[in-house]
C-alpha cells in the first residue's frame, strides 16, 4: 500500500493532548498562535517558550518530530535570521565592507526566528496529536453556529470526509494511470513549457473522468443508504467536552492574557 497518507502527520498516542476534544484543540491553537504575535520582549518570549515546551512535554511525542516539522523551512529560517541580523541599525558588533552585524540585529533576529519556530512547532502539535478525521469532525461542530449566516457546515464536513476517504484511492489510480501511459511511451518529464502542459493530458483527463465516475457511483450508494442532507441526522460518535478541555482552554486563555498584559500594561 502507499504510505498511509490520510493519516498525514498524525502520530497516534494517548496523551492529554491526544484526548482533548478537537474543538478545544483547534480553538486553543488558533488563540495561542495569535498570542505568539503579542510577544515582544525577552520575558514574554520566556512565557511562550515555557508554554510550548510544556505542551510538547505532555504530548509524549518524540523530539525528532520537531526537527521533522522544521526541516522544510530551514532556508526560510536562516534567511529570516540573517535579514534581521544584517539589516537592523544599532550598535555595530562586527563589520566587513558594507556588511555589519548589530547587537539589536542579533537580538531581533533571535526573537523573530524563535517566533517562527514556535508557530510551526505549536501548529504541528495539533496535527501530530489529531487525526484528520477527528479534525474534520471538530471543524463541522465549530462551523455549526455559522449555519445561520449561510455556511453549509454539514455539507462541508461531509465533503471533507469523502475527500479524505478518496485520497488514497485516487492516489493509487494516479499511479496506475501514469504507469499505463508510460507503457504506451508517454513522457511526463521533458519538452517546452507548453509541451509539458500537454503531457499532462493523458494523466489529468482519465483522472478526472475516473473521479467523476466515482462521484456518481458514490452519490447513488449514499442515497440508497437513505442519505438526504444533514437535517435530522445523528452521529455515532458525538463530541463531548470534558474537564480536560476546560483545563486546556483556561491554560491557553491565561497565557494569552499574560502575554497581552506584558505587552500593553507593563
Amino acid at each position: 500500500m502507499l504510505t498511509d497518507i490520510t493519516l498525514g502527520q498524525y502520530f497516534p498516542g494517548t496523551s492529554f493532548l491526544h484526548k482533548l476534544d478537537p474543538r478545544a484543540k483547534i480553538l486553543g491553537t488558533l488563540i495561542f498562535i495569535v498570542a505568539i504575535f503579542f510577544a515582544d520582549s525577552l520575558a514574554s518570549y520566556g512565557v511562550v517558550t515555557a508554554f510550548v515546551v510544556l505542551n510538547f512535554a505532555i504530548s509524549h511525542l518524540p523530539i525528532k518530530l520537531i526537527a521533522k516539522s522544521l526541516k522544510p523551512l530551514w532556508i526560510i529560517i536562516i534567511f529570516t535570521m540573517s535579514i534581521h541580523v544584517f539589516s537592523t541599525p544599532g550598535e555595530v558588533l562586527w563589520q566587513y565592507g558594507i556588511l555589519h552585524i548589530t547587537q539589536e540585529g542579533v537580538y531581533q533576529g533571535c526573537l523573530m526566528t524563535a517566533r517562527l519556530v514556535y508557530l510551526i512547532v505549536f501548529s504541528s502539535l495539533l496535527t501530530y496529536t489529531t487525526s484528520p478525521i477527528v479534525l474534520t469532525d471538530g471543524i463541522e461542530h465549530l462551523l455549526n453556529p455559522f449555519k445561520r449566516v449561510g455556511v453549509p457546515a454539514h455539507e462541508l464536513a461531509m465533503m471533507m470526509t469523502i475527500a479524505l476517504r478518496f485520497i488514497p484511492t485516487l492516489l493509487e489510480e494516479t499511479d496506475r494511470i501514469m504507469k499505463a501511459q508510460t507503457a504506451r511511451g508517454a513522457n511526463f518529464t521533458s519538452g517546452s513549457l507548453w509541451q509539458r502542459g500537454k503531457n499532462m493530458i493523458p494523466l489529468l483527463v482519465p483522472l478526472f473522468v475516473s473521479a467523476f465516475r466515482r462521484a456518481e457511483d458514490l452519490a447513488t450508494a449514499m442515497e440508497a443508504r437513505c442519505y438526504r442532507g444533514g437535517e435530522g441526522r445523528t452521529r455515532m460518535n458525538e463530541l463531548a467536552y470534558t474537564y480536560r478541555d476546560a483545563v486546556a482552554m483556561t491554560a491557553v486563555l491565561v497565557v494569552t492574557f499574560i502575554l497581552a498584559a506584558m505587552r500593553w500594561f507593563l
Binding site: R165, T169, M236
Partner: protein
C-alpha cells in the same frame, strides 16, 4: 399470506438514448419475490439487470406498470425512505460505495441518516460488523482492506440499517476468487438468518447457490425457476450468451450423444452419482 417483499406488475423502464429515442431497458416484467427468498438474476451485459435492481430501492421508478416493496408503491414519494430502509443495495465497485474514512464510521452512515440515537448506532454497528466477521477491522481505513472485505463492509452498512432485504448488483465482479468466496459465504449465512437476498451475477457457481434463478435477456424475464430446472436448458442459455455450470454442460452434451442421464444435474457430485448408476 404474507405481503411479498417485492412485487412487479407489468413493470417497464425506458431510457432516452443520445439521439432522444426511447429505449426499453426493462420491458413488461411481472415478478414476485417473497420474504426470505434467495434469488439470483443472470443475464448478459446490457440486458437490464441493474436497471431492474435499482427499482427495488427506488433509485429508479417505473415508467410503466408498478413496483411494490413490502406493499409500498415505489412511485409514491412518501414511501421512498421507508423502502430504502427496508431494502439495501450493494454495488459492483467496492471502492465507490464506502463513504467514510474509517470502517465503523462507514457502517454507521445508514443509521445516522435515519436519525438513530448515538448509543443504539454503536450497538448496531458492532452487531453488523460481527455478522460479516469484520469486527477486528472496525478502526481500519477502508483503503487497507481487500475487495472482498470492502464488500462485506458494504453489507454490514445495510445490516446496520436493519434492512430485511439486500440487493447485490454484481458484488463479486471485481473480486478475486478468495474475495468472491468470502462474500458468497456471508450472503448465504445472512439468507439463512432470514434476510431476503437478490444477487445479480455473471458467475454461474454463484447462481447455483440460490434457491431461484431469474434469467433476464433484453429487458425481459426469459426463465424463472430453481437452478436445477433453469440450468437444464443448456442450449437456450448458451444462445443468450450465458454460461452454465460445467457439470450441467457436460451432462447435457452427454445426453446429446445418447447417454441416458437425468436432466437436472448441476453439480459434480450429481454428475458422479448419475454416472455411477449407469455402470
Amino acid at each position: 399470506m404474507s405481503i411479498p417483499m417485492i412485487k412487479l406488475d407489468h413493470m417497464s423502464h425506458a431510457y432516452q438514448d443520445e439521439e432522444g429515442k426511447t429505449v426499453y431497458a426493462v420491458k413488461d416484467i411481472s415478478l414476485t419475490i417473497e420474504p426470505g427468498e434467495f434469488v439470483a438474476v443472470i443475464g448478459t451485459n446490457g440486458s437490464g439487470k441493474s436497471t431492474l435492481a435499482k427499482h427495488f430501492n427506488v433509485l429508479l421508478t417505473p415508467t410503466g406498470g408498478a413496483c411494490e416493496v413490502c406493499g409500498l408503491r415505489t412511485d409514491d414519494p412518501d414511501n421512498v425512505w421507508d423502502i430504502r430502509q427496508e431494502v439495501g443495495m450493494v454495488f459492483q465497485n467496492p471502492d465507490n460505495q464506502i463513504v467514510a474514512a474509517v470502517v465503523e464510521e462507514d457502517v454507521a452512515f445508514g443509521p445516522e441518516n435515519l436519525g438513530v440515537p448515538s448509543e443504539e448506532i454503536k450497538q448496531r454497528v458492532s452487531d453488523a460488523l460481527k455478522r460479516v466477521n469484520m469486527t477486528i477491522y472496525a478502526k481500519h481505513g477502508p483503503h487497507l482492506l481487500s475487495g472482498g472485505q470492502k464488500q462485506r463492509i458494504a453489507i454490514a452498512g445495510i445490516l446496520a440499517m436493519q434492512s430485511h432485504c439486500i440487493v447485490l448488483d454484481e458484488p463479486t465482479a471485481m473480486l478475486d476468487p478468495v474475495g468472491r468466496r468470502e462474500v458468497m459465504e456471508t450472503i448465504r449465512q445472512l439468507n439463512a438468518e432470514g434476510i431476503t437476498v437478490i444477487i445479480i451475477t455473471h458467475f454461474m457457481e454463484e447462481a447455483v447457490q440460490a434457491d431461484r434463478v431469474v434469467v433476464v435477456n433484453q429487458g425481459e424475464v426469459k426463465m424463472d425457476g430453481a437452478p436445477r430446472s433453469v440450468f437444464s436448458h443448456v442450449d437456450e442459455l448458451k444462445a443468450m450468451g450465458l454460461d452454465v455450470p460445467v457439470a450441467a454442460e457436460i451432462a447435457a452434451r452427454l445426453r446429446e450423444k445418447g447417454i441416458d442421464l437425468p436432466g437436472d444435474i448441476i453439480t459434480k457430485e450429481e454428475l458422479g452419482e448419475a454416472l455411477c448408476r449407469l455402470s
